[in-house]
Amino acid sequence: MSEESTKKYTEQEKGEVFNNEFMPHVDSMYNFAYRLTFDEDDSKDLVQDTYLKAFRFINSFERGTNAKAWLFRILKNSFINEFRKKSKQPAKVDYNEVESYYNSDDVDANITTDLRVETVQHMIGDEITGALNALPVDFRTVIILSDLEGFTYEEMAKILDIPIGTVRSRLHRARNMLREKLTGYATEMGYN
């Protein structure tokens, strides 16, 4: 992201854009941050950092365009580039290894998704959230963006800087992984 040399908004307009277009998304931003970091203080810092950057680069935002997607992209980049390094919850796995495993062609053969509708209906939000939180971050992210925040594949492609076909396949794999975890959990708890 680069700061434009020409000033696009007056100080008053900046305030209007910030208050009317950015601030309404603060709840979604916090939820997204919390599902990435699992820590209240870290989430707060991440959201504040995102809004500071948004204000700093406000001239590169086109009024009336998709502010939510623009903010989510900043937050995602902050998390990946800066925040994850100093996070209280260091990555427990090498993401590159996980991604190459889950992007391989034969992975679906190893995933069982024999999950029944009634099983999910019997589960509580805590159990499903726990299963989601156990997914590697990039797979967790696509489910959050699609199923919780309602972004389209095209918007997700822009937020995540990946091709739309990758969004589609990663989302499918993420959902399979989530179901696999739920199936395992259901078996453990005797739901099945």
Partner: protein, 97 residues
């Protein structure tokens, strides 16, 4: 024909045997998810809708997938974190608004 339509048609064909029976439910669920996410184009959606009207196995697979996806979404949505009261104010304060 768009890249998406080509992908959809090819994947769709691979889900069925020569007698047009559904043989690959795992791949079929990927198509179902695209449909449920409202990401299919009109042509792909028409192909899909025709099939689930005429193939009971495809129809059941679609209904199951739809119910599971909705149940998971609902439970995740109702389980959102509590937003700190002072967050919005402290953001505004930090940029002097």
């Amino acid at each position: 024909m768009s890249d998406f339509s080509v992908w959809f048609e090819e994947t769709f064909k691979e889900c069925y045997c020569e007698h047009r029976g559904l043989v690959d439910e795992k791949r079929f669920t990927e198509l179902v998810q695209v449909i449920l996410d409202n990401e299919a184009d009109d042509k792909s959606r028409a192909i899909f809708e025709h099939k689930i009207k005429t193939c009971i196995k495809s129809s059941n697979c679609f209904e199951d997938e739809k119910c599971i996806q909705e149940a998971i979404k609902d439970k995740l949505v109702e389980h959102r974190s509590v937003i700190p009261n002072d967050l919005a104010q402290s953001i505004k304060k930090s940029i002097n608004l």
